[in-house]
Symmetry: D2
Subunit: 350 residues, 4 copies
């Protein structure tokens, strides 16, 4: 931590800051400059709480050198964390995991048709919402528990593991009973009660970045889950709020290399919510793979024009087939592969 | 709703769109232009669900004319809603309500000293967090139930009604037992489970705008509460995420006149979180009053330099006294007054 | 300057950084911490160029303590700079200057009617564009030199000094011949050739903040003008690009107290461009005064419904009269006054 | 254009709007709804100027259906525009053009070493600034005309065509004498005098997107150039201002598919300025290619640690060699190629 004093700070003010730092158990290293004095704080094991310093007379600014998070950081753990949601379906290794499916579970017929299309094209997990956070209270809110049962049915038939969202503590327990990975949505990224609950359930958690969350915020929210003893966390970029209304969101692929530098956790990308436009999903999925994403969440619907939610961003099954083909080529160009579909072996799927 | 077709859309595509609109129970009014055809949708009572239209071939864009929210709008209810959290403490009338207190309840001594300072300077309600949403799991998270008890004690002594935050459903029930107004924080603005729970508790709710929430998002979240039968909702601007790091947040006072035009609900402003800097709190509080805010939430601490959270943005008690003086003059300049402190009469407090 | 090393940096890497700092003529103060080493740089007179350090092996981050600007800062000059554009029309003193007029000069009749309305209501300067930067090449681009002549005519009749925009170096010379203050628009805030040209002309310059400019950027652009020897610079907040489309821009009043803390230059606010909506101009003008702005630029048109540009944000003359009344009351509430109209004395105008 | 009336608009107000629309030469189609009336405007050839309508009594909102730009749009010209800056160096065709070089020209030795490294690794054009727009007036501003002469020397030796920036009208003329493509920087994207001047010089123009420019803004600025008779315009994404400080900018690859849908002009990406971090340049270059960019501008320096500007984002020559290899593989995965270096044939370069 570095305490920058005002140019007009008195010697007395500098001494008080040094003494408060000593009281906190650290050493203060004053560095008088031509313009102003800065005071280095040393001896701290991790980020110092600046509460008692920041408001002292003469203090212009407090600059933190240590990161505010801990267990999610690469400095805490240098090698990649690999999160497995089912045998052979691992995020964070060499292979890239393609998760696909409809925005929401609408009916048995729809979710089975979706799962078959995902399986047939070589996807390795099924997504689909049973509980849907919708901006408007009057929009379709999902089938709830019935949706979870239908997802389980689809898994039974196709072997695809399930990723689905929980919106509150009670929902998280229910989701954990049925699904292979609990998704926490962008709107709940800082719902700390939910993060803690998810951390205690012992299932892998897919944590989506909030619409205006910095990478630091995202990592701090992951830290909430890990602090409960669950390090099976997958991060997900899904588009930010932007001043440009050309697309629904601004899909921020920069998050991929930034997270990979700062953290050992896997990071995936969701180009469907990330862009909100079907015609952008294919190029931006390719870009996400090229940027180094450990997986992709993509919306596919057997009949997007009749979808109950987010139809405009869902791929047609035949588009998904084409996408899988391109994605394999790009993964291979950067020395990676695509996770083979469940029940196949690696050679067949490439 | 207006459906804009691509310049290259065929007559057949236009007819399909019209027929889908008819199937939905509305009338379609095609308007052929030089460049492209637009199709007006009439006969709708409120916002049309565009799911079935937006993905049809030839459709370039769907433009909504009706607002996505309903009961929060001025069109639904023309006159201001006045929300009373205690006898004489009303948001949305002529008088402006000043709510002050520490960021978090730290001890009996601290909250009583704060409450006395608020009361003495003429504030009319007490704020203070018992449950604190903090970005880091390692930061002080509040005293919980003990904090609520201390707030109740402070109310008993000073007569000031209490505004305090709830972070989840269980917490909301507890807060409702002790407090006069349940606050929902910016990070939980789209925690729909919490919004619904708060809506069912029958207490006034103060809903803070999320850090990247549009005004439409804020109003939709308020609609979640009202849709549960509780129209006692106070909206609150508390600063947005911004590209400029000169202040912690970008306090958006434009929200005040915009909300007042679109909605009948009262709107207050929180310059302490809005700016994050003590030296900006006073000018921006004055500005909020001048912009027309129905109330102010401001942080005050008996000893900001020793605060356990947000000390750098808390006012010293003597600054609050000065602020109350300026606030009265500005309110009067625009034909409003400041709510008199509890137990005093209006004449005395002006 | 503080150089933060990676946790994994070797002793050799630390020594190389120290030796490069020495070569630059400064002293290096290494501060080894539990997690990593930071190296303080002392002995610098102003901001250090970090080019040679930032890419060295082992360097994680370079943090600047000194500001990148110099002559615009309060540390360079503690007392307010007062910029006078005509006798008695001073920005940065106790009195607040109200500049009003149409978006663009359209005709002799229109500009004279505007100037008379400004004068009658007590405004103290006239604004109006002769050269108009428009997003589209097909929009009305202003009357050019003829517009300047009409502004001069209006000044002759009413005595109001003129503020008008220059878009390039040749235009700046022409504007300097006719106007009392050269405006540089938001889109040209980082047009450095224009800034330098304006700096050399010896006339007061009103510099508008760009739509995504940080306060630091704004101050650096002002530094370009001052570095040419012209310290007569007025800064202007006029709204930022935002993710919320409820208003055209996000008018950022936080700029007022932030600039006043960092710089000695006066800062004014333009609520007309800042919001783009006539119904927001009045509350946000009041808020700007309450926040401490040294002046206001506001659009007024004798017949806004027929304006060639920005009619939707221009006040009707009768609204301006009402605004002037409120503005006087708020200025008085914070111990300031409104600059009296030219040719009147202070007592009459209050 | 669609005029949305307030719910409370009277029949008389609706009629006045219709009559004003008729006066403008268009037809008005009123569509009465349950909540409010909307009035369609038909018969317009391109975007209607809404100035006379937007302020009329009863009007709530004016919605534009036509785009504000014209000649840059895909509707104006369906097939891709191919911009050639030298024989065989074409933007907008099947092949992708790699432009590389230092941020600024520093010396003969440095620019020749850079050009040789670019040529050797298979790049097909040289970038390098002679005129540098710098936020601070005290930063290195480029060698000016001498820099242009050195670029020409490097072209003579290596055969690489030159892309370099002009900052004002006089500079644009000078740049046009020496360079093969005139770059207009992000800060000058809305410097309309410069856009017009560049449009008149008859050389290809590379136009960078401003830091908070929407895609619409970018296309409108390109329209300024085309409106002068020059359709040889290459658009460039180079990073946006963002709330997250993890990288210098937020590189927005979504711009690539969005522009390609809306416009026939080629679009390239600059991951060096886009991210500002060397370790992000390689993954984000790969992502840009995968997203469909028609070219890449990348910074390379023979000795980045000694660069006079932007050293921290410049690649080492050996990194560029590796990047060229990956870029070829990804281009091939999506059915494209890399433009062969000048003087080689396509087979050799692949």
């Amino acid at each position: 931590m570095l305490v920058v004093m005002h140019a007009t700070a008195t010697q007395g003010e500098i001494e008080i800051v040094c003494s408060v730092i000593s009281d906190m158990g650290y050493s203060a290293v004053p560095m008088p400059g031509e313009q102003r004095t800065a005071i280095g704080v040393v001896g701290n094991d991790g980020r110092v709480d600046d509460t008692n310093v920041v408001g002292l007379p003469g203090v212009a600014q407090v600059i933190h050198v240590s990161k505010p998070y801990k267990q999610v950081s690469r400095e805490w753990k240098a090698e990649n964390t690999v999160v497995s949601i089912a045998p052979g379906v691992e995020f964070g290794g060499t292979n890239i995991v393609i998760v696909a499916g409809p925005c929401s579970v609408e009916s048995e017929e729809q979710i089975l048709a979706s799962a078959r299309a995902v399986r047939a094209a070589g996807g390795s997990a099924l997504r689909g919402g049973a509980f849907k956070p919708r901006s408007s209270p009057y929009s379709f809110q999902g089938l709830g528990k019935r949706g979870l049962e239908l997802l389980a049915l689809a898994r039974e038939e196709t072997g695809l593991p399930i990723v689905t969202e929980a919106m509150d503590e009670a929902g998280a327990e229910l989701v954990a009973e049925y699904a292979d990975c609990i998704q926490i949505g962008a709107r709940n990224m800082q719902n700390y009660s939910l993060l803690k609950a998810a951390g205690r359930l012992g299932k892998p958690v897919l944590l989506k970045r909030g619409m205006a969350a910095t990478i630091t915020d995202l990592l701090l929210s992951a830290e909430y889950i890990i602090a409960e003893g669950n390090s099976q966390v997958i991060l997900c970029e899904r588009g930010l709020r932007s001043f440009d209304t050309a697309a629904r969101n601004m899909f921020d692929l920069n998050a991929v290399p930034i997270v990979q530098k700062l953290s050992h956790l896997p990071i995936v990308a969701d180009p469907s919510h990330g862009t909100g436009r079907r015609d952008m999903v294919i190029p931006m999925t390719r870009a996400a793979i090229a940027a180094g994403a450990d997986g992709i969440l993509v919306e596919l619907h057997p009949n997007p024009d009749r979808a109950k939610s987010d139809g405009a961003q869902s791929l047609y099954p035949e588009q998904f087939v084409k996408l899988m083909h391109e994605v394999r080529l790009i993964a291979s160009a950067i020395g990676r592969g695509i996770t083979p579909a469940v029940g196949t072996d690696a050679v067949e799927s490439r």
